[in-house]
Symmetry: C2
Subunit: 241 residues, 2 copies
């Protein structure tokens, strides 16, 4: 038997039999542009030669989820029940791996995990794991509202230094209103640079609107895009061995 | 009473009460990157000041829909029943307006319309309407497979000149495999330019992978991005008066 047949290794994606996938469910709409960014990253993250190499993805982009920050301030209902209901509906439709591309909503991750258990891929876990690769002494976090108030990133192994939410919030509001122009980009770059001055040796964009205007090239230390970290973790969990 | 109060007109989006929306359902995954592009365009097309100004969007990105071209060639099952089932499931989940960002799949639009009726927004209708604004004598169509074989764009009011599918198909295959590099862009630009030489005075990207590498700036006559035309028509249908 010729060696070539014995040790043949597929060279192109087209030749390689693709792994199967579990169906992915996305608890989305917080905000809608971040969900669109997440879908783009999920699709780009699949080594595919053709449509059928991709996983099935079910998305519920629901911008009517009760406001996370208002809930925390006691000015509105908890988003927990709505998030749990969205998770349940996605699973009833066949979703086997669930992701929620919004950091602040993870203040209510417990409500989702109560119905989804291990099927739920946590954005904070995914982002902290991506950050720890760089062995930081201190992680810098750009976030707002519930993400900071509930100290979601505080559960990591290293101290957190957070950007001033009073500087971040107005930029998030502008991004949510569709403004990703040079002024917003410049201001966000400055916030990242100031975090490094304050001692951060990794910067985490801990709000899924942030990477819509901030990218690795603009940050002088390793940068963790939480949307991208969640997409990678979701694909890893969805891939069948 | 001061004039100012009488003629006050809201100046910012934030001041304007937003119209409500019907829930949008997306029959997607053909291909996955085109569906991600469609979601991006839907979100960008909403004049929103905050998350809650957006419509709810339910997406089924199903890359396992039977191959449209294989079906037409008698080499595989019809995608019709699967597309109808996807439509039905989306409507059962609350979708009131349905869109399918894939031109070739519209060869089986009848199967979707049979269950969705007027809720279904047809990409060919949307694209032809966008093309007719420019009062063309002849529309140029960049398409493959079922879109050409079933002459989907032939139902318009003006003659169609089609790019050679033997030139288009290999580029679509590369885009579906994630290659949107300079070589693919250059080749697609040349196809558009040649259509104009052949008499087209509007060029229609009649495959939702095409606008991933071809944009208005590269086409010497008015350009219709069918994904964008469908997004605009879908938002128009979803907006409550």
């Amino acid at each position: 038997m010729p060696m070539r047949a014995t040790c043949a290794t597929p060279r192109s994606t087209a030749e390689r039999p693709m792994a199967g996938w579990r169906t992915i469910g996305v608890i989305g709409g917080m905000g809608p542009a971040a969900t669109a960014d997440f879908l783009r990253l999920l699709v780009a993250g699949v080594p595919a030669a053709r449509d059928s190499d991709h996983p099935r993805i079910l998305i519920d982009s629901n911008p009517q989820v009760p406001d996370r920050n208002a809930a925390l301030a006691g000015r509105g209902p908890s988003p927990g029940p709505v998030l749990a209901e969205m998770a349940q509906r996605l699973m009833a439709q066949g979703a086997q791996v669930l992701a929620m591309p919004c950091n602040a909503a993870h203040g209510w991750a417990g409500a989702v995990r109560a119905v989804a258990d291990d099927a739920f891929i946590d954005i904070v876990d995914a982002a902290l794991a991506a950050a720890m690769v760089h062995r930081p002494a201190r992680v810098g976090v750009i976030a707002i509202g519930a993400t900071l108030d509930l100290n979601l990133y505080g559960r990591g192994a290293v101290p957190v230094v957070a950007a001033d939410p009073a500087r971040v919030q107005p930029l998030i509001d502008r991004i949510k209103a569709g403004d990703t122009g040079a002024e917003v980009v410049g201001a966000m770059n400055q916030i990242a640079a100031d975090l490094v001055v304050d001692g951060a040796d990794v910067v985490i964009a801990a709000c899924t609107e942030v990477p819509l205007v901030l990218s690795a090239g603009a940050v002088p230390v390793p940068f963790v895009d939480t949307t991208a970290a969640l997409a990678a973790a979701t694909l890893a969990a969805a891939r069948l061995a």
